[in-house]
Symmetry: C2
Subunit: 385 residues, 2 copies
Amino acid sequence: MEYGHRQALTDDERIGWLRLIRSENVGPVTFWHLLQHFGSAADALDALPELSRRGGRSKPVRIASVAAAEAEIGAARKAGARLVAAQEPDYPWRLATTEDAPPLVALAGDAALGNVPVVAIVGARNASSNGRRIARTIAQKLGEAGVVVASGLARGIDAAAHTGSLETGTIAVIAGGIDVCYPPEHDELMQDIARRGAILAEQPVGTKPQGRHFPRRNRIISGIASGVLVVEAATRSGSLITARCAGEQGRDVFAVPGSPLDPRCAGANGLLRDGAILTESADDILQVLQPGLRDAPGRASPAPVAQELPVESPPPEAPLEMADTVIADARRSLTDYLSPAPTSVDDLVREFGDDLATVAAALLELELAGKVERHPGNRVALIAA
Amino acid sequence: MEYGHRQALTDDERIGWLRLIRSENVGPVTFWHLLQHFGSAADALDALPELSRRGGRSKPVRIASVAAAEAEIGAARKAGARLVAAQEPDYPWRLATTEDAPPLVALAGDAALGNVPVVAIVGARNASSNGRRIARTIAQKLGEAGVVVASGLARGIDAAAHTGSLETGTIAVIAGGIDVCYPPEHDELMQDIARRGAILAEQPVGTKPQGRHFPRRNRIISGIASGVLVVEAATRSGSLITARCAGEQGRDVFAVPGSPLDPRCAGANGLLRDGAILTESADDILQVLQPGLRDAPGRASPAPVAQELPVESPPPEAPLEMADTVIADARRSLTDYLSPAPTSVDDLVREFGDDLATVAAALLELELAGKVERHPGNRVALIAA
């Protein structure tokens, strides 16, 4: 199996990938580390019990079965969707370049939409009529300029953004499973989007969305886009999480200004204060993105994006083959040093003078043992016992 | 007479200054050049006929009489005001540091207000109720923090800014003479400000404000302030002229964001796009200005500001004493080279390889002859014949 360019998985590979990402303590970042270390999902699955034991786990780590993976693939198909892997041509190419890209996403509708220029529009659920009008108009104008609009199917700004771009191309990224509509009153809109646009979901088919799923979903909204526009957003709102993800992923952040007397504008005004690009119309976005948009792979001419994918050929010396004692030492040092406050992996490497491979191997074992968790920005934290 | 520090003019000097600035073709920049070249207004007045003749003027330049100057001083007094010169302690010290500071301003009310921290608040005459509320609240909060608020006595935002700061200190800079209220319905507000705040006017007593007076007035609003806040302003509005002056004078520019759907917000949003400081409350202004405000001369402890005043001792060799032929050559070159589009004086010096003194002397003669006019930013233009 080659990871260097975009090609379809075999059925067996897809089942291996799905089992690995659905196994206990395996998140996207861990998934990519395992795949890099072992060269295939199947070999990583074989190594999971031993790795988690070395990380200090006493009871066996729960590994997703072949039957469960096949059942999920079947359920997705029944829901009119399919599970697309990050190295496959139908996977949104920009999302594949993020450090914690979902290994697989459930996709319903037109897969090509994720591989043309995409701009995300997000904002308040309790948006004003003016805010919704701005979102709808900008979505429409972006669509007329050949840009696909992504959003989160929420009430308010999200719904306005989807509605404005339904004719030209819209992607809804949802927090639950691909077959679960939230909020329920957007059932018809979701069906329209599945038919004319595209829907993406990271969580397993059938998952009811819970609070923790929404920030995970937000990183996908920004991840598939070249830029994120925030139309109305209160302080401490989900839209600001999306904007922060966008910044971390190197996406442009755009914000529509609003009156200081309207609390719904405080978040967007705060983004402007922090350097977001002031946006009054679609032109403000197009002027910034146009050169970059031309470079993106389009429907007509898919460009090679291999070098940007997080998946690469396994390194010549797989780090997990290094002396167990070296990794065990690093593991002990890390357990002592880490705290529930996220610490940068780069700092850890500097702190211990160890090579990155040793630290990475030790962290992987601790993660699989459920002792350490990943945070955005290549940071890790101890899970409080 | 010494120009290096702030001290009162004698009665004769004040009459000399007033005659010079009220004479034909003498604007503020020309006034300061003349004063620097000749050391006193009286000597400059004596030189005016010859200078304007050399600049190519055939009929005699109109020089303001002693009687006219005395009449204006009397009329100001009758209107409850007095004419304060730029080197005098009661002249707003920040205004005195600008390149085209009015040599004299008519001042009614509390002169001390111009020498404590000042922030200008300007905006649309047809402001929204929300915009007026923001202006009034910010003016009030600035006042509570010890900052005097300046504005232009116009309808809308200006009136709200004055009203909000009437208790704590407000300065109205008006476009016409000190005794002419515009708009007429602000007569009562103007009287309140004269009683409890201060009013400044550059134009001669009795002048009805005309279109060209407003941009001149706007540079004084920004000139007396440490920063200018634009609350609501359409594109191509007077408030944006004030903001541009503020930028040229090195003042901070603040702007309140607003909805893209409201044309009254387009100007302020445009300023934010160009780097103005996003402002939702008085705190946003105070945070930026506070360190600088502490350095400004206050009521309690007037600081020496002499080094910042545009007026300095005459140079050892007065440039107008240089060989007439050298200046005549420069004058001819400049007349050929200049056009009605403003050109930077620095560029002229580079272009001709002449020293600044020669170019300045030639320009002065051309100005007094009515052939060249000054523009902001040390630029000059030919007056179309």
